[in-house]
Symmetry: C2
Subunit: 385 residues, 2 copies
């Protein structure tokens, strides 16, 4: 069901011709109201793709009537022609739906530098078909149409008391998070205001997608979009909605993690005893970005020295000689010295839990990441060929 | 000849028993004077190995009578026992040489967490033999004794007008620079003062080792040491010495780069048109740390989109839509748009030159890095097993 789980939404996934064979490559999600509240979170990368440049301006209206997403080309660094393609996509969509272009969000994913004439024609020609096919059953096909190197379509649903949330996500190259595009569309039929929606999306993404292997290096095209139809007629309190949305975002984040390109381990890095959440995040991210640690986990090697070496590069408050490190529950390092023997650690399962106790406070945070594998190198070296 | 090229130095490399078979694993370099000026640059990592803790304190004297280096164990995160081992190494060496412990530098490299009783005994027992074998011919064996995953011993020499510089270096896992230990010992018979030596080492390392794939993430054990004997009797001007030392350091840095674990390409990232050197370094480092770019180069794929995505994560001054990018001389991106076709770029050679013009000023800097390969993952996943 994905994005069409809540009432008031229709969606479709079609083959526009951007991808080979008959693969779905264009998705639309339409908000049939009564509300058309919308809010987005965009990449922090200063190099922004054309769809981001468009969507950031368009969302100032606080309204999303529909969103158009394509795979098979990022339309990034494609110049004025590329921007005009995004604008034309919004204009054509608005014309079909009888609304204004600034109520249309546009997302693209695929190779940077792709977005020429064939790209434009394929999208624009497919729009009438896509919108005419949009239905309350179309969520799953829409989720398939935004896949790139994803091996499975990622969706999530939340059932509230008479209201619900639906979502779809795309993204698979999570080692340097964001540097492979992550696109997320979330829908809800809860009756909430624009400020509540905006606040909720900010909070939910900050503890989910932002903590996925995060190093602040988002891609050129990342966008998380929330569309509110209000069609359930149920007014939902802000806190209730924030909690539900956070649950959905974490579920999707973990699905992205599990489908990371070439990964053989999913690693949860729990940092406790931190002076502040910022310190905990900084420590977690330093480990999540450490190629030597990630390669060691791929080799089922509990090399905790690399964990301490990574932490040592941060400004977080801690004494290197008072840190505890545990891998899958085995405390291999206690107060900066070897504790249990390495061979007690079993790293053969996909799930790995790394616990780091800084003993410098009461704050904590979890960062999720993957290992560094042959397949990661392979998939990312062959991406554009 | 390595460190025994200049007059006034003797050196040895012996098998202490830290490594398997009869491999050399302990090196000593002795300064026979008349001067015993010394200066060091240490890792910036807050998690410092025991030899670093010792050497940082000892060098406050400004004197180095001898340096002892071992491979086969980093003596890092080995607690008080490990620190006492380093101290004992210095005390025993000082006793043999008839000097004081604070005039002895100690360096270790190998696996973190290794440094127990057997480690201590092997080193202490081997010291008398090592010092008795030290000779003016011993430089090459010393260079071999500090190798870990290095495939070749790295040395460099510089001939001045009646004076010279000799050097040896160890380090091979340069992808996250420093996160595999880099040890460098440089000797000279030039007659220079301690302040001149200290200034020269700071300048020379800042434009050589610090720009090797640098992300500020040095290892727990990194140390660059300069020993001055003055035995040539030739007074050398500060500028002359700085230039010569810089030449030696860059030569060694490029040798480290060429021997990086598992790398198949050496990449020079030239950033020009920067507002400041800091901006140029920040941009160069963002690219050097980008796994997606590095994997693409491994696959001979001129994926310049990943270069722009990396730059976009920095705070450097530039307009993403006014940047030029060239790979091996082919301008693939001009003003943020595709220029020459990708297939004009030949990446089959080991040497790769990436030129980035930010068009925001007149400053420039070069960062050196490697590609991300299957072999890198293999070597770093198997390191401790």
């Amino acid at each position: 069901m994905s994005v069409t789980c809540p009432q008031g939404f229709s969606a479709a996934g079609v083959h526009a011709g951007l991808k080979a064979q008959d693969k779905l490559d264009l998705a639309v999600v339409v908000n049939n109201g009564p509300s058309q509240v919308g809010t987005c979170v965009f990449t922090s990368n200063r190099a922004k793709a054309n769809p981001i440049l468009w969507s950031q301006k368009a969302i100032e209206s606080g309204v999303i009537a529909a969103i158009v997403l394509n795979s098979g080309g990022a339309n990034c660094f494609t110049g004025q022609f590329g921007y005009d393609t995004t604008k034309l996509t919004a204009e054509e969509s608005a014309h079909i739906l009888g609304t204004i272009p600034s109520h249309i969000q546009v997302c693209s994913t695929g190779l940077i530098g792709e977005g020429g004439t064939a790209f434009r024609e394929a999208i624009v020609n497919a729009l009438p078909v896509a919108f005419s096919q949009a239905s309350a059953d179309g969520g799953d096909r829409a989720a398939q149409a935004i896949m790139t190197t994803d091996t499975v379509a990622k969706t999530a649903e939340y059932q509230g008391d008479g209201w619900s949330i639906g979502a779809m996500a795309k993204g698979a190259g999570m080692l340097a998070p964001g540097l492979a595009t992550m696109l997320v569309v979330i829908t809800t039929d809860a009756d909430i205001s624009q400020p509540v929606a905006q606040h909720a999306l900010k909070v939910a993404t900050s503890v989910s997608f932002d903590r996925l292997d995060a190093d602040g290096c988002m891609s050129t095209n990342d966008q998380v979009t929330l569309m509110v139809s209000g069609a359930s007629g149920v007014r939902v309190e802000s806190d209730t909605f924030v909690n539900a949305l956070t649950e959905v975002c974490i579920e999707l984040a973990l699905k992205l993690l599990s489908d990371a390109e070439g990964a053989s381990h999913d690693i949860a890095i729990n940092v406790t005893g931190a002076r502040s959440v910022e310190d905990a995040l900084s420590v977690g991210r330093s480990v999540a970005r450490n190629n030597l640690f990630k390669a060691a986990i791929f080799g089922n090697d509990p090399n905790w020295g690399r964990v301490l070496a990574a932490i040592g590069t941060t400004d977080a408050q801690f004494d290197p000689y008072n840190v505890d490190v545990a891998l899958n529950g085995v405390r291999v390092c206690s107060q900066g010295e070897p504790d249990r023997p390495r061979d007690e650690v079993d790293l053969t399962e996909r799930e790995v839990v790394l616990d780091i106790d800084l003993k410098s406070g009461n704050s904590r945070a979890t960062i999720w990441t993957n290992d560094l594998t042959y397949d990661y190198v392979h998939e990312n070296s062959a991406y554009s060929s």
